[in-house]
Amino acid sequence: MKNKIKEWLKSGQIDIFLGYKTLQGHPLPHAFGKDNLEDIDTLITGSNYYPLEKIATKLVAEKPDIKIGMITQDHSQRALNVLYIWNQLDPENIKPLKGDGCSSNLKEHADDSHREAGKSGQFKKQFGMNTHASIEEAEIFAQQERFQRWMYEFQKCIKCYGCRNICPVCFCKQCSLEHSNLIGTGSLPPEAPIYHLVRAVHMAGRCIDCGLCEEACPADIPLRLLYRKVNAIVTELFDYETGSRLDQSPFSIIGESITLKLKPIAAA
């Protein structure tokens, strides 16, 4: 694998390779370049910790023609697909290299056991939402109770915007979360539940279930569950599995000129 990367860099197939390197015991993202090919021997491939796809998007925004190789797992391939669909990255310029994903009992929706959330405490289970709950488990509660449980979670929010900032598929230049007509500014917690629901709505057809948001959340809000729910709705209504294929998202009508007539949504 490392030889392959060296080969890519040497032959100019890529300008840079995004992976990980250990620094004083900490795995940190690292950009390997062609000027120092030996450096690639220090590449570590075990787990995916950081949003390399987002870093790639940022690089491309600065340097549109750059060719990037990167280490990926299943979810990062889904992230790349979403970024291709939304024209943030050009598949011609990206060379993914599959890393050693690790097995996980969350395998069905993810592939990285290191990112499994810690156990939810008793109090959280009693009054909030268990981080490990499936959609079905979360929907056992009657609507009113479910709402109260989510409101408990949302009230912990410290408005760090970490869920958005870490998200590999959040790339908008102007974010609805910062639109003061939509969400009031300047106080904690942010307006609940609107802040989290605005983000959830925007995750429909976008979220690739990588779990980085939940891992970045200082308040342990089960964001992954929330976005999984909106995506389950998308799958049900449009038969669209986000990031699984390279076909257009049902939400790509957004951005077209607005008509006052109801527009039938194209059949999948």
């Binding site: 840079i16 620094l23 940190l28 940022k58 970490g162 870490i166 891992e215 970045a216």
Partner: protein, 135 residues
């Protein structure tokens, strides 16, 4: 092209969260939380996430300034340091070292705080050194 990731510590409060600065061609373009840091374990607050922004501000001071007839003029470092040294020495000679005070900072590094109090005590010759943490 230069693209690197540099570990550091957030400077926005006393918690001390681990961050990673993302650098592109000598410019800070982003801040990420360090996932494996013992203090913040991959999370940050709104200030930490935007730590790189103040560094890049166009309002940053770029040159030494000396006030002449009520207006700041840009000067070279050697001029600024000479003016400062001369004025300090003059005041110390006329009024004694205790007529000078130094305020160190809760925002600069340990090494710099150490040097600042060493400067106050060994160079100016007074213990009039304090910081603004009371404020």
């Amino acid at each position: 092209m230069e693209c690197k990731f540099v570990p550091s510590v957030c400077s926005y409060c006393g918690t001390g969260c681990g961050v990673i600065f993302q650098v592109l061609d000598g410019k800070l373009v982003g801040t990420l939380p360090m996932k494996t840091h013992p203090v913040n374990e991959g999370k940050l607050c709104i200030k930490g996430w935007n730590l790189h922004e103040y560094v890049n501000s166009f309002l940053r001071l770029k040159y030494p300034l000396v006030k002449t007839f009520g207006r700041f003029i840009k000067v070279r470092w050697d001029e600024a340091l000479q003016i400062t040294a001369d004025r300090f020495k003059e005041i110390i000679e006329t009024h004694g070292p205790d007529s000078v005070g130094v305020l160190v900072s809760a925002k600069i590094t340990n090494e710099e705080n150490y040097l600042a109090q060493k400067f106050t005590r060994a160079v100016i010759g007074t213990n009039n050194v304090d910081h603004c943490a009371r404020l």
